[in-house]
Amino acid sequence: MGPLSVNELISENTNLFLAFIIGIGFGFVLEQSGFSSSRKLAGVFYGYDTVVLKVFFTAAITAMLGLLFFSLFGWIDLSLVYINPTYLTSAIVGGIIMGAGFIIGGYCPGTSFCGASIGKLDALVFIGGLFIGVLIFGLGYNLWDGMYMAKFLGSPKISQTLGLSDGVFAFLLIIIALSMFWVAEWAEKKFPREEY
């Protein structure tokens, strides 16, 4: 059955319409969870507000389990689902640059759109910065396309790399997430905070 658009069960225009609807859900849940506030987001790095960690890992696990169950029930063909390719160098260097952007700017791209939608001007300026950053990457592409393409490993799953089945890896990730949630709850009690 799924993915619907890859199996051509829905038209391209329906796919784009559903993208809009899914986006509404994405923005709504982000805002409801407090991701429209940069000070709330940054809290995870100081322990006073760990909402980012809780929402992020709960979401990753929910979607991961959902895909595994959908596949088990025959509702989705996982071989048709896009797995992000792994270019080792750029995954690490890109991540490092993004991490610096996160702690300096207080947002990531998705949350900055969410913040801007309720009137946060700092989020709007962050989006302006995003455009400049993407433009710089595009203009200087020839300077870093070597790094961009380096150490290509294909599209491996982390479970394959670790020699585990998808199910066992999922189980381990849930245990890890639960221990992180426990630490997060402890940290929130230890470091005082106010609601932003």
Partner: protein, 173 residues
Amino acid sequence: METQKTKYLNPYVGGVLLGLVLLAANFVSGRGLGASGAIKSTLVTAETVIAPAASEKSGFIKEFREEHPGNPMKTWLVFEMTGVLVGGFLSGALAGRLKLKVEHSPKITSRKRLILALTGGVLFGFGSQLGRGCTSGAALSGMAVLSLGGFITMMAIFGTAYALAYIFRKNWI
């Protein structure tokens, strides 16, 4: 008179809901969520209009066009991110959180906050292109499909932010 702010959603409930949205994205389109891709689409469109000759030569734009034939604005992520603006606005309206303001720690000025936001945005924009996606497209969506690269990018983003947190603490707490 200040309107009563509605409290935020329980983070675990929010996480499950966000996970279901991500699952829906995969079920419908065979790909996860994303954000930075929509910015790239917009820039490719702008560059093609403003400087068509230069855009022909750009390796960056060539790569984009190979992956997305047709109108660069008629892509999944552009429609999805338009939805994000609508969904965020609706949520903020319902919760009484719609307000034009610069949010910052009382220890810094609005001006400093905006300079930091711009700097962070430039870095995040650049990094998201190098890393082939941001927190949404590479880290969160990558983790859901168990992509090795997704997990690596996630650890690099959060690891770096934690490592630098002490230096930038005055901007937040």
